[in-house]
């Protein structure tokens, strides 16, 4: 039986907080985390006919597992595009209220963002300059690979390779501090 609007509304009531924290830990941005939450539930409604409990895996509730599948896709799209996909939100005409300052801080608390930021800074500082510099130029300064190559007097191919290796190294160092499990529906 396909999910109804009431089903999705109930899922939202039960799990929206968890999703905001889930997104915030991954994108490190409370505003984007709320946008991603809105888009995930809007997309769930738009695609509710595709939900098949038999195919959803993991956890006690197939619908929650299915929602997290949608969430994971949107996180991947966010990193690829550098912005939140808002297709389903726009299609439905969902309004996303603005975050107040206390809520901004609340989300950071919920997702322990301050700790994660400190850890990223520590790990970056601990990396050798030839690894940390290309990474900072790419991720923090948002330079293109050609500009990084010019600044560091290396070829563009070398710049790409160094950024890629550095990201992998950083991800390995941060793994103990990142949640690998998704919140349950308990």
């Amino acid at each position: 039986m396909p999910l109804t609007a009431d089903d999705i509304a109930a899922l939202y009531d039960a799990h929206a907080r968890s999703f905001v924290a889930y997104f915030a830990r991954r994108v490190l941005d409370p505003e984007a985390a709320v946008d991603l939450t809105a888009e995930t539930f809007a997309a769930a409604f738009v695609n509710r006919a595709k939900f098949d409990p038999a195919l959803a895996s993991g956890g006690d509730d197939p619908a929650v597992a299915w929602l997290f599948g949608i969430a994971r896709n949107h996180v991947a799209m966010y990193f690829r595009a550098g912005a939140v996909e808002r297709r389903a939100v726009a299609k439905l005409g969902v309004e996303r209220p603005e975050l107040t300052e206390p809520e901004f801080e609340r989300i950071e608390e919920l997702s322990e963002l301050a700790d994660l930021r400190r850890r990223v800074t520590l790990e970056l500082d601990a990396m050798p300059p030839e690894h940390a510099d290309p990474l900072r130029l790419r991720v923090v300064d948002e330079l293109g690979y050609d500009e990084i190559a010019a600044r560091l007097d290396i070829t563009e191919t070398t710049a790409r390779a160094r950024v890629s290796r550095s990201l992998r190294a950083l991800a390995v160092r941060l793994e103990p501090y990142l949640p690998i499990e998704e919140p349950s529906n308990a």
Partner: protein, 429 residues
């Protein structure tokens, strides 16, 4: 409103909006399913119909919006539909993010009478300026649009949202030689055709005249109480926007808002940029290699790039070119691509329209002017840029073989070429 979000108003509000939107959509589907009922498009809620009319063939030129998420103007929308769609007011910036000198006093804010119509001519709220005084006594300005008696901005969702009094674009102080605040505000968009650049200035009590050069053609601007305002399609560099201000004492000031020797105008579309790089030469022990490429000025997925035009540097570690000039002339079209440096680097024109491109570099201490001539005479010219790189991007109807490149050296002599000048040949395949 769900009780579980009493401490989280944003989630409560989002939940309410989501519930309402889902209920509307289910009701519309139920109506559409009834025989004889209106078609899904007609029966859809106002916002969904608007969204469908809005979608267009994409040519996304990336996301270089200026402040927050304020950009985007839709085109070809009915005025009645547009003004009915209102969104939540855009929140004021957090106090912790503001400096007193740039924090506007809400009670001093007023919207000027100046209006600028959107170039599309559709039912788009006109552009306007709101000015006020900051806590530090500076003149502050906000670019926005006026809908009735409200000052705000139309977002990417076609909804008009009020701009709070403390949200400002910039502050400045009038000096004897210039306005308090003047510049270009880019309103980005998903579709390139919807991008707008608002050119404005305030606090010019001694300003006599203002003109904006758009692709080299001057447009006189109305100056009212020391302020001016106009709006142009595209990004500033796409039209090489240049602002020229004339003051009562006769002095003039020129402000290149989008014109640069390191960008090249396209015949009709987004601008290009000239990139110079220095890398290893043909041999590891040999001289460095200086190369110039032409790319879309604003990066986006599948942005076009040209093959590199290269020449030798003056030494293994020198980024200065050995030759007075080097350049390539090619017509590049959709699907063109190539590789170089033993296939480790590639260039792609992707699906960009065909263009005939002349690009390269000169020793700026020896060259005074670079010009390109076609069968009918001068096509384009420019002075050398700060690093010598240059590019001219022409319509592909002008074949490469029909062009003559003229290098005018500082001794006044002209050196004419009707073929590329690449001392080490083309390096791509």
């Amino acid at each position: 409103m769900p009780e579980h979000f009493d401490d989280f108003p944003v989630l409560a509000g989002l939940g309410t909006s989501l519930r309402a939107a889902m209920a509307d959509a289910e009701a519309a589907e139920a109506t559409a399913a009834v025989p004889g009922a209106a078609t899904p498009v007609d029966a859809a809620p106002e916002r969904d119909r608007h969204t469908r009319r809005w979608r267009r063939g994409p040519r996304n030129f990336g996301a270089l919006s200026s402040i927050l998420v304020l950009g985007v103007v839709g085109t070809a929308a009915a005025a009645a539909t547009l003004t009915v769609l209102r969104g939540s007011p855009i929140p004021a910036p957090r106090a912790a993010d503001l400096q007193p000198a740039m924090t506007a006093k809400a009670e001093t804010q007023r919207v000027l009478d100046l209006r600028a119509a959107d170039p599309s001519g559709g039912g788009i709220p006109p552009y306007a300026l709101r000015i006020g005084e900051s806590q530090g006594g500076l003149t502050c300005v906000t670019v926005g649009q006026v809908d009735g008696d409200q000052f705000g901005i139309v977002g990417t969702d076609r909804r008009f949202r009020n701009l709070p009094p403390t949200l400002i674009d910039g502050c400045g102080q009038e000096t004897g030689s210039g306005p308090a605040v003047a510049g270009a505000r880019v309103l980005d968009a998903t579709n390139y055709g919807d991008v707008r650049t608002v050119v404005y200035g305030v606090g010019n009590s001694e300003l006599e005249a203002a003109a904006l050069e758009i692709r080299g053609v001057a447009r006189k601007l109305e100056v009212k109480d020391g302020a001016f305002l106009t709006v142009v399609p595209g990004y500033p560099e796409d039209s090489a926007l240049t602002l020229r201000l004339t003051y009562e004492d006769g002095h003039t000031a020129t402000h290149p808002l989008g014109a640069s020797p390191l960008t090249a105008l396209d015949p009709e579309g987004p601008a290009w940029r000239v990139e110079t790089s220095v890398g290893m030469g043909p041999s590891k022990k040999g001289a460095a290699r200086v190369c110039v490429s032409v790319r879309a000025a604003r990066s986006a997925p599948k942005s076009p790039s040209s093959p590199p035009a290269c020449a030798l540097g003056r030494g293994p570690a020198s980024g200065l070119q050995r030759d007075r000039w080097f350049f390539d002339i090619r017509t590049l079209g959709p699907g063109d691509q190539g590789s170089f440096d033993r296939d480790r680097a590639k260039w792609f024109w992707h699906d960009s329209p065909a263009r005939t491109v002349v690009w390269g570099s000169v020793q700026r201490e020896r060259v005074a002017n670079i010009s390109v001539h076609g069968p009918a005479g001068l096509v384009r010219e420019q002075k050398p840029s700060i690093n010598g790189g240059f590019a001219f991007v022409l319509d592909a109807s002008v074949p490469a073989s029909a062009l003559t490149v003229v290098m005018t050296t500082k001794d006044g002599r002209e050196h004419r070429f009707d073929r590329p000048q690449l001392p080490i040949g083309r390096i791509d395949s």
